[in-house]
């Protein structure tokens, strides 16, 4: 007999059933609580309006920077240098607000700052990273093209040498933050050598434009754009010197996906909690709808998926902090946590009945957002194939 046997029958914290909180240290909890408070104060009151209007408040960048959220897992150059687990917890809390806010932070930190931090020259780091960490300079990441999505190595954007300069031509598609960015990290192929180079492109460079993509029904509280590169001339100092293969963009994506596997559980938690609260107060047939077995099954399945996914995220976070996390582990987390989050969101949507389709409740906003999260940073299918190859040794990417 030990103490845990004496805990009363039939109790459990509906908001933290597996007591995952106890697996965090004081510093992680304080950081998590700080982001949660920020989201409560600054995101939740207005996010339904941003979603409806299809905007993201640019001035929030400085507030996110002051907190230390931008590039928070990077060392030096004004970055906070937090652990991978702390970065994950922050992503979870942000996405419990909205996937748009988390996307902003993922793109800035993992897709725009990370390549400069990892593959940039000392001068490039000094020039760009501190203002990006402070949120004074907004970045974006251009890899996907109209005809090159899951197979980014098929990209057509070119970078040709011209004397000491480079000249970029091509179109990038679906680029988060594109139209509000001050600087774009653009990946392009050098036709002569087939090398893949990353360029730091100030968005006021002649020949660069970033028209916004409208009529999205998902991730509306986030700016998505096309990047048009029409003879964009750059000095060699704009090229990231330390990488010249697809490893460059893929390593950035690996960082961002790691944040997503946490973030998705934030969205899922918000949906589950909304459904739980709603089911407890909505009366039909004279009783709260939580009284029905069918509803309880839904709530329990949601609760179990949120707890399991969060435990998975924490496990992967601890592995990353120990330097043991591989990109296939990240695929495991991205694939499973996002699809489970989407399942939870759809189930919660049903529990809320008609209220489940309005922006008065967070659920359909998260549900629609997660459709983007399901696709970007490697679709669910692509991560499945990554894992399939890992366990069978057979690549199934090409028919």
């Amino acid at each position: 007999m030990n103490a845990s046997d004496e805990r009363p029958f039939g109790v459990g914290d509906p908001r933290d059933f597996l007591e995952i909180d106890a697996l965090l240290d004081d510093e992680e909890r304080m950081l998590r609580d700080t982001v949660r408070r920020f989201v409560d104060d600054r995101v939740l009151p207005d996010v339904a309006d941003w979603f409806e209007e299809g905007t993201f408040p640019r001035d929030m960048a400085k507030d996110l920077g002051a907190l230390g959220l931008l590039g928070m897992h990077l060392e030096g150059y004004g970055c906070a240098g937090a652990s991978a687990t702390a970065y994950g917890l922050a992503c979870l809390e942000l996405e419990a607000g909205d996937s748009g806010a988390r996307s902003f932070v993922s793109v800035q930190g993992s897709l725009a700052m990370f390549p400069i931090w990892r593959f940039g020259s000392e001068e490039q780091k000094q020039r760009w990273l501190p203002p990006m960490a402070a949120g004074e300079v907004i970045g974006c990441f251009g890899l996907t093209e109209p005809d090159s999505g899951s197979d980014p190595a098929s990209m057509r954007t070119t970078a040709r040498r011209d004397g000491g300069d480079w000249v970029l031509n091509g179109t990038k598609m679906w680029i988060t933050n594109g139209s509000i960015a001050d600087v774009a990290v653009v990946w392009a192929r050098e036709p002569e050598t087939s090398a893949i180079h990353g360029f730091i492109v100030p968005t006021d460079t002649p020949g660069f434009s970033a028209p916004e993509i409208h009529r999205k029904l998902s991730l509306r509280a986030s700016i998505t754009s096309e990047l048009v590169l029409d003879d964009v001339r750059l000095p060699d100092e704009a090229r990231l010197p330390e990488v010249a293969t697809m490893r460059g963009p893929l390593s950035c994506l690996n960082e961002a996906r790691y944040g997503i596997l946490w973030g998705a559980m934030g969205a899922a938690r918000a949906c589950y909690e909304a459904a739980l609260d709603y089911a407890g107060s909505r009366i039909q047939f004279d009783v709260p709808i939580a009284s029905f077995q069918l509803t309880q099954r839904k709530l329990v399945d949601m609760m179990v998926k949120v707890n399991k996914g969060t435990l998975l995220a924490l496990h992967l976070g601890r592995m990353k902090d120990r330097g043991q996390l591989s990109s296939t582990h990240v695929s495991f987390g991205k694939m499973d946590n996002v699809r489970e989050a989407l399942w939870v969101a759809r189930e919660a949507r049903g529990v809320l009945g008609a209220n489940g389709i309005t922006l008065e409740y967070p659920v359909i906003r998260h549900m629609n957002n997660l459709e983007s999260v399901y696709t970007y940073e490697g679709t669910n299918e692509i991560h499945t194939l990554v894992l399939g190859q890992a366990i069978t040794g057979i690549s199934a990417f090409r028919a």
Binding site: D26, E27, M30, T34, A66, G68
Partner: protein, 260 residues
Amino acid sequence: MNIVVCAKQIPDPAEPGELDPETKTLKRDGKLILDESDMYGVEMALQLADNAGGGEVTLVSMAPDNKVDGIRTGLAMGAAKAVLVSDPALAGTDALGTAKVLAAAVGKVEGADLVLTATESSDGYTGTVPEQLAELLGLPSVTFAKHIEIADGKVKVQRQTDAGYDEVECPLPCVVSVTAGVVEPRYPSFKGIMAAKSKPLDQLALADTGLEADQVGWAGGGQEIVGVEDAPEREAGEIIEDDGTGAEKIVAYLENLKLV
């Protein structure tokens, strides 16, 4: 400009508080957080030190069981160091006893130019500690500050009143109590959070304060809680049927309460 801020650590008001039936006081054995009332003092102190071009902000706190979570929040916001007094003998200490302990703790901070408190705490809210503290330290004090400026060895305080504010000046060092809500407390930054655990935290027992056990705790309390009762159930309100004079009756009712 060295500023001391009194930082009370209290049970999270978001969680249902519980009274200990034995001692009839609030149970404080769970996690304690920084009283929101004191966040304004911390924010103001950080701004004043910044404007003065330097100086340190030190937190002082008295709390059971060496609890530090709330202090860490203040350190993460930017305070440089903290003094915590904790001792089993302090259980039951009343407001005056608290002021004695805090005065002793402030005395451990070298070169303090200014001591900030909240006007009242969120859990005990006697609102008496600031004045008691000033008296024990032998310092002048100003209460209900909504704005503080420091120049030429003086504080200039906008002291909140029912009608607006008074402008009050007072020589340093002094004790000023800060009204809740007058500044926007910053969020602790991640760098601040990570730095907080390596900032100096001076943990004192009662013996280190020079106070005796009979000056504090149950023994030192000039008061005793003899009973605790539930608040009376709210009585049913008065229902006014509108027969054409409804508005007049409501006005008369409010006038009676001196609300209009």
